[in-house]
Symmetry: C2
Subunit: 210 residues, 2 copies
């Protein structure tokens, strides 16, 4: 069956627990998955290491990467660039690892366009009420902040329909296994195994003729 890795994009509401979920997945199946590492022009924060949290680049270096088409997608937030270096992702995919890429809806659509076989997962809490609870946090946020987060969530929700799977993050443990099952199951999808199918068809024609 398909032995090359699957590029898997994970998006979802802020507060849906994507980060925790992905790290739990990687911890449980370290040989199966690799996390894509973004490049950025922002300054490293304390405790962040180059090539672990991010590939830290100067603006000049980053713009050269753009020019050489070395990024699968990129975007500019405020004053900084963020992007997905192509080389690392392709290397991991070739090595047979499923590469997980956490990215917001618009970035996800760019990746899908560049790599049509990309698997798109959207993580959501079980209900909007639960999402509100998580966005409200410990009650220390102002009504304005909560309002603007809800507004953003409503925007993100509009992109949901473009994803392949919806993952309801209710219980972390169940959810990790669900995500693992989905990605592994995808390896059996027909369109990822056209070579296998062509080979067995051809071989059967030959055996039949013997």
């Amino acid at each position: 069956m398909e032995t090359k890795g699957i590029l898997t994009v994970v998006s979802g509401f802020s507060g849906a627990g994507k980060g925790t979920l992905m790290h739990a997945l990687l911890q449980r199946y370290p040989d199966r998955y690799a996390l894509s590492i973004s490049a950025t022009t922002r300054q490293p924060r304390e405790g962040e290491a180059d090539g672990r949290e991010y590939f830290f680049k100067t603006k000049d270096e980053f713009e050269k990467m753009i020019a050489k088409d070395e990024l699968i997608e990129y975007a500019r937030y405020v004053e900084n660039y963020y992007g997905t270096p192509r080389a690392y992702v392709e290397e991991m995919l070739e090595a047979g690892k499923d590469v997980i890429l956490e990215i917001e809806v618009q970035g996800a659509m760019k990746v899908k366009k560049a790599f049509p076989d990309t698997l798109l997962l959207f993580v959501t809490p079980p209900t909007a009420e639960e999402l509100k609870k998580r966005l409200t946090g410990r009650g220390t946020e102002t009504a304005e902040v909560i309002g603007s987060r809800l507004c953003r969530a409503a925007e993100e929700a509009e992109g949901m329909g473009q994803y392949d799977y919806l993952i309801v993050n209710d219980k972390l443990d169940v959810c990790v296994e669900e995500m693992h099952g989905i990605i592994q199951g995808e390896h059996c999808r027909n369109f990822r195994n056209t070579q296998f199918m062509e080979k067995i068809k051809q071989d059967l024609q030959e055996l039949k003729g013997e």
Copy 2:
């Protein structure tokens, strides 16, 4: 998430081990799955019970079922009718069970047409050589019989491309889990959860406005 069962059609080469696979799946997860029971006009064989191996019908009864659209699909082989009664399948799906239906390629396409949400799985041995080995059996078959089986397999292979997933039956145990993972993962597919998505979108709009 999707709580209604998924109608799952399993096809594949004769000799691919579909029957063994499905029974192992049902034995391991008896609460999760139900096996669709076919109706037939052929005579029961020794040890077969009505409503277990088949629903045994007279030709007249069967033709009435056809007329009343009580069969999802049916076909006639030699002198006998075989078909899939709609009522049992729908009852099991409503009860939240994933219903497994073993059927050949043409029947599968009929089911897919009647129920577009049907999940189509195709079971295959890992190689054509391995299939030949299984079709050859214990070496007691004539070259003609083996030839005609291979010919049939080559025909079946032509339908493979229309399935959603390809399941390579190499090791039974691995394969059962793979099949289980695929079917359960399908519950998270986006198009099976449009109601959930619409609800969360609507609720977010309301919460935002509060």
